[in-house]
């Protein structure tokens, strides 16, 4: 089991460009969440996908969008990049055991380090 895999590992983009980050969840997991972690901070929840739909969203602008595919893999898209979007982007997968049972751990990928210049 490869666990959660993210690509690419590192990425440098220019302000105003668009970027797509990819995530493959752990085998058997159907829920994918994305987090942004600025340097020296804890991860901030961006959104969560389940059954190919955005189920929850954090306090992020519409420039941040996502997608989940039938095989549960997911993409995070960020448009009109700002310097402040530079961060480590983490993907986490978990099995959905039905609300309100939230006593499940999330498995994280190694992240994509995005630098906007």
């Amino acid at each position: 089991d490869a666990g959660v895999t993210q690509s690419p590992t590192h990425l440098i983009k220019t302000r105003g460009q668009q970027v797509t980050l990819r995530c493959s969840p752990k085998s058997g997991h159907d829920t994918v969440s994305w987090y942004q972690q600025a340097l020296g901070q804890g991860p901030q929840f961006i959104f969560q996908y389940y059954e190919e739909e955005e189920r929850q969203r954090g306090n992020f602008p519409d420039r941040f969008s996502g997608h989940q595919f039938p095989n549960y893999s997911s993409e995070l898209n960020v448009n009109a990049l700002l310097l402040g979007d530079s961060a480590l982007y983490l993907c986490a997968s978990s099995p959905d055991r039905g609300f309100p049972n939230v006593n499940t751990e999330a498995f994280f990928g190694q992240g994509t380090r995005l630098t906007v210049v």
Binding site: S33, Q41, G42, P43, L90, F99, Q110
Partner: protein, 112 residues
């Protein structure tokens, strides 16, 4: 912000000593989780304690939870250089699936 806080922000100890990190949170919770992060890479899940539990052990890790004080502690006994990492507490937001709110983290350095 609903983000919790870890205390201390940074901790430096000698190998073999015990390390204690504390976490405070602001909302009611179903569970609280502790994660470790090495060098700004992915997070590794360490332990989950449910809201009806007061203490939980896993190897050299001991976690306590006090829901009346909205606080938790992580104790690492007999620390090793390999324990050097940042440690985060996190909890699912009430009313929301697995959306997880992370604290600000404690940076632990274990000196050989």
């Amino acid at each position: 912000s609903q983000q919790g806080e870890e205390d201390p922000q940074a901790l430096s100890i000698q190998e073999g000593e015990n390390a204690t990190m504390n976490c405070s949170y602001k909302t009611s919770i179903n569970n609280l989780q502790w994660y470790r992060q090495n060098s700004g890479r992915g997070l590794v899940h360490l332990i989950l304690i449910r809201s009806n539990e007061r203490e939980k052990h896993s190897g050299r890790l001991r976690v306590t939870l006090d829901t009346s004080k909205k606080s938790s502690s992580l104790l690492i006994t007999a620390s090793r250089a390999a324990d050097t990492a940042s440690y985060f507490c996190a909890h699912p937001n009430s009313g929301g699936y697995q959306k997880v709110t992370f604290g600000t983290g404690t940076k632990l350095q274990v000196i050989p």
